[in-house]
């Protein structure tokens, strides 16, 4: 069922048009801007549902393809397509962006909403692109609004944070771009599906060697450099330690609703990139450096959790917690290249996608709770600022508790399934890596329980005695996320049946020993 359809293009255009429309609204009409933005968000969700209905989940390959010549002189095509992974990512984007819009301050200006919608358009584009050039276009398109959202609407140190964010991701992007340019010069194509085929067939290394014959870079070294450049771009975005240093500051300074999108979907963009642009194209590179990469991933897991433990600011705690959770995904992705059975590989990758979705929802929900807390505390988010909130705001604490436990990986909630699958898969392929990452799970439990302890229990801080529980609006905002966490935790099949055929195909396609 390889039908051609322009619906994906429309999905991308929708928020972009919305962004332009919102940008043209007078700064005075803030309610209007918010309304239009939410309307666009819902409309996107609706389109997304249509896409889901038209998508044949049993077929693992790309569907709803939109392909047309774009820059013929470079052989670049406009090539959109969707597979199971992309479908999950689109859904996640629609969902999290809508939450972020809802969680945004009522007083936000049209420009703010416009940036959010631009970001959404960029994300849709990046999750559906099958050609590097416009994939990169959308990848960069995400960077710009994110930069301005931080720069213009963030906390006291926003300028420095925004700059740091920009510089890190830009360096990563350029490395990525250079890497892919190198790849293009060697192979003559920017098409991701073609590159994946070449990667699987082992043609990449010979073609790079051929392209560089007689220059100072011999083929092997150039291949490593190119792959490393590409990896760097994603490693910064996800992040993979030690390229994570921009993250806590950025997450901390960004407006909390923006942080939702940063951690909820932007970080997934990095992982998605690894799955789509790195793993299939450079399996040899991963295999050659497997131990190192797995070590870094395990380090990300463990140190992320350990750092979270040491933080006092809630936003920073969650920032490091995000690093920790995404570390599992990195672990899963890298481990796939090791020697193992297809089942283990598939399990690991399914886990990765599951974890991406789960973490996206959970993290978005958690940051939404931080938004609520912020509103009540007047911006204070220190761990020690609170205590005994359970009595004052039982609904708040209950719902946030669900999210926290989902994040912790409690069985029955979504987080568990993803981590379990990853560990299962990785253990079957590279046992030591799984073992090395295990302390991360423990530390996560520790810092989350500690947080619950400090905020919800203990003596009530007198300052907050008047704190109100969640309003109806706020409940509406987080309820879907909570429901999803439980649903996905109890019925993993919902998601897995979407992803599995694609994963099987990907694993087959990798053509690994």
């Amino acid at each position: 069922m390889n039908e051609t359809s322009s619906i994906l293009t429309w999905l991308i255009l929708f928020p972009l048009l919305g962004a332009v429309a919102v940008a043209l609204i007078s700064p005075a009409a803030r309610a209007m801007a918010r309304l239009v933005t939410l309307g666009t968000g819902f409309a996107c969700l609706a389109v997304n549902l249509v896409i889901w209905l038209r998508f044949d989940v049993r077929e693992g390959g790309f569907q709803l393809i939109h392909q047309t010549a774009w820059i013929p002189s470079l052989g670049v095509e406009y090539h959109l397509g969707l597979d199971g992974i992309g479908l999950v990512m689109l859904g996640l984007t629609s969902f999290v962006m809508l939450m972020a819009m809802g969680a945004s301050d009522d007083e936000s200006s049209p420009a703010y909403y416009s940036f959010l919608l631009f970001l959404q358009g960029g994300l849709y584009g990046a999750f559906t692109a099958l050609n590097f050039v416009h994939w990169f276009l959308f990848w960069e398109l995400c960077l710009i609004p994110a930069y301005f959202l931080i720069k213009l609407y963030g906390g006291p140190n926003r300028s420095a944070a925004a700059m740091q964010f920009f510089v890190y991701t830009m360096v990563g992007s350029i490395a990525l771009l250079v890497g892919y340019l190198g790849l293009y010069l060697a192979t003559g194509t920017f098409d991701l599906t073609v590159l994946a085929q070449k990667g699987a067939a082992g043609e990449i290394v010979p073609s790079i060697k051929a392209a560089l014959k007689g220059t100072f870079l011999d083929g092997g070294r150039a291949y490593t450099l190119i792959a490393f450049g590409v990896l760097l771009g994603f490693a910064v975005k996800v992040p993979l330690m030690p390229f994570h240093t921009w993250l806590p500051g950025t997450y901390g300074e960004a407006p909390t609703a923006v942080t939702m999108t940063l951690t909820g979907v932007m970080s997934k963009l990095g992982l998605y990139g690894l799955l789509r642009l790195f793993l299939p194209v450079f399996p040899d590179f991963i295999r050659n450096h497997l131990s190192l990469l797995l070590l870094l991933a395990a380090m990300t897991v463990v140190l992320g959790a350990a750092s979270a433990l040491a933080q006092r600011d809630l936003k920073r705690v969650f920032a490091f917690s995000s690093i920790n959770h995404l570390g599992y995904c990195l672990l899963g992705i890298f481990a796939v290249a090791g020697l193992g059975s297809p089942e283990d590989r598939a399990a690991a990758l399914c886990g990765v996608v599951y974890q991406m979705a789960s973490h996206g929802i959970t993290a978005a929900a958690l940051f939404a709770f931080l938004v609520f807390l912020e509103r009540r505390s007047g911006g204070l988010l220190g761990m020690g600022d609170f205590g005994g909130l359970r009595r004052l705001a039982p609904v708040f604490c209950g719902l946030m508790g669900v999210s926290l436990f989902a994040s912790l990986g409690l069985p029955g909630l979504s987080g568990f399934i993803g981590e379990f699958l990853i560990f299962k898969g990785v253990f079957g392929i590279v046992p030591w890596a799984a073992v090395a990452a295990l302390p991360g799970v423990l530390l996560t439990a520790v810092f989350i329980l500690k947080m619950i302890q400090e905020i919800f229990h203990g003596p009530l801080n007198g300052r907050w005695s008047g704190m109100a529980d969640l309003t109806v609006q706020e409940r509406v905002l987080v309820l879907p996320a909570t429901v999803l966490m439980i649903l996905l935790g109890l019925f993993p099949g919902i998601l897995l049946q979407m992803v599995n055929p694609t994963i099987v195909r990907v694993v087959d396609g990798l053509n690994l020993p």
């Binding site: 774009w70 820059i71 470079l74 420009a111 960069e140 213009l152 920009f166 340019l181 010069l185």
Partner: protein, 493 residues
């Protein structure tokens, strides 16, 4: 249709001298718009493909074999469109000129007419005539209506231009004589048999002569001073189209006539181009004057054009033309924002002073526009600059890989200085430190012509960035025309 672009502009130049002062602006605008429309419909009439469309071909100076021959090909059409857009926006940005209005637009439209003429000439003599016609008005436009050190800037610019055209003239004469002295038609000259030695010394003459106007390092120094001295709309035009004249000459005359020479000098030219890219970028980073930042950025971006030309392969050459278009649009936009939107209101171009003015809040339109322009200029995907530089870099990698890599570093420098400018001027939070901002006077609101100009340029860049085929389908086949046959053979593609 295309010939009307030239005729209308010159007629307009005469016309503005004759109509009452109240009508001058409108006449100029109508002429510029009509020129753009003629260019547009002419481009459609041309339709693309590896051919050139003859527009006019009349005998002119029989004893020298000079013909009044105009022809459209893909490159010419692209640049005619650019000129049309730049002319319209230039007139819009000239709306507030009061001093010696009629003369201003007379010079302005003469310049435009000359530029159109260059892009459409099929006869080398005619091309040179138009080329020179375009140079003289620049002097007056800068010297009369200019700002900072206008005498110096104007004279320097014109003398550099004429020094360049002197070199070109020598080369043209030599080629004419060597080809038998019976025709000045570009195609005849391109198909003549020149000895390799001749090509080796004639090529650098013609190439450098033209490239002076394109800001080739180390002959670029006229560009920043000239741009800074010129009144805003003229800087827009200078960077927007006049610098393109030089690059066009190098591409359309030097390469087809002397392919062997081009191949011989390729590495050195590429090295100069790359030096321009890196040097322009680094100097832009250190500038304190906002307009100088843009001025040097032009040098850097034109370096990509020249690098594209020096690659001598189809991808790089297409990229060069695309970059010409892209830079024409973006440099116009940047100069427009810096000179008109910002400087005319704040009366300072010093980055440190602008920093404290909290411009983001006080002129959000300018901030937004400059951000978009800056992003586009630094090669953000989705805008024209990215596609163009991508072509150039890929082309460069295929023929001069080391230069290509250094040019890639130039891109990073470009990101750095552009970000720095955006950050410093528009996004420094002066509001936090300077409580007096709230009470400071508000700036005059942006006028309709200004807004129209900014939108027109930004949307063009976006359009080309998103769908470069509009231009590339014209540009690329041009290199399959007989004019480039020698180059194709020589460079082996």
């Amino acid at each position: 249709m295309l010939a009307w672009t030239i005729i209308l502009s010159f007629a307009g130049a005469l016309g503005v001298l004759l109509v009452p002062k109240a009508l001058v602006r409108w006449v100029a605008l109508v002429v510029a718009c009509a020129g753009l429309a003629c260019g547009f419909f002419g481009a459609i009439e041309f339709g693309g493909g590896p051919v050139s469309m003859s527009i006019v071909d009349l005998p002119w100076i029989a004893p020298l074999g000079v013909r009044f021959a105009l022809e459209a090909d893909g490159i010419g059409v692209t640049l005619v469109l650019l000129t049309g857009i730049a002319a319209v926006v230039g007139v819009l940005f000239s709306w507030n000129i009061e001093k010696r209005l009629s003369e201003y637009f007379a010079f302005f439209l003469t310049l435009i007419g000359g530029v159109y003429g260059v892009f459409l000439s099929a006869d080398l003599f005619l091309l040179f005539v138009f080329y020179e016609i375009a140079i003289v008005p620049k002097y007056f436009l800068i010297a009369i209506w200019g700002g900072t050190r206008k005498d110096y800037g104007a004279m320097k610019l014109v003398l550099y231009s004429f020094a360049g055209s002197a070199l070109v003239l020598i080369g043209i004469l030599a080629a004419f004589v060597a080809a038998g002295g019976s025709s000045f038609a570009l195609i005849d000259l391109a198909q003549a048999e020149y000895s390799v030695e001749f090509q080796r010394w004639a090529f650098p003459l013609v190439f450098v002569g033209f490239a002076v106007l394109a800001g080739l390092w180390p002959f670029h120094t006229w560009a920043p001073t000239g741009h800074v001295a010129a009144p805003t709309p003229v800087s827009m035009l200078l960077a927007g189209v006049v610098m393109k004249l030089g690059a066009y000459g190098a591409l359309k005359v030097a390469l087809p006539l002397f392919p062997e020479g081009a191949i011989f000098w390729r590495d050195i030219l590429a090295a100069l181009a790359v030096t321009g890219i890196v040097y322009g970028g680094l100097v832009a980073m250190t500038q304190k004057d906002f307009k100088f930042v843009i001025g040097y950025s032009s040098v850097s971006h034109m370096g990509f054009v020249l690098l594209g030309v020096a690659t001598l392969n189809e991808t790089g050459l297409s990229g060069a033309v695309l970059q010409m278009f892209s830079h024409g649009i973006l440099a116009g936009l940047l100069f427009g924002i810096v000179g008109r939107l910002v400087y005319d209101r704040t009366h300072t171009r010093n980055l440190d002073e602008l920093k404290s003015l909290n411009l983001r809040v006080r002129m959000p339109f300018a901030a937004g526009a400059f951000t978009v322009a800056g992003m586009a200029s630094m090669g953000m995907p989705g805008f024209s600059g990215f596609v163009a530089e991508l072509h150039v870099l890929i082309g460069a990698w295929r023929s001069v890989p080391v230069h290509g890599i250094i040019a890639g570093i130039g891109v990073v420098i470009g990101v750095a200085y552009t970000m720095k400018a955006i950050q410093t001027v528009f996004f420094t939070d002066a509001g936090d430190t300077d409580p007096g901002v709230e009470t400071s006077p508000t700036y005059a609101p942006f006028t309709v012509p200004e807004r129209a100009g900014v939108w027109m340029l930004s949307l063009t860049s976006l359009l080309i960035g998103l769908y470069p085929r509009i231009l590339l389908d014209w540009i690329t086949p041009t290199f399959q025309t007989p004019l480039y046959e020698g180059l194709r053979k020589g460079a082996g593609w």
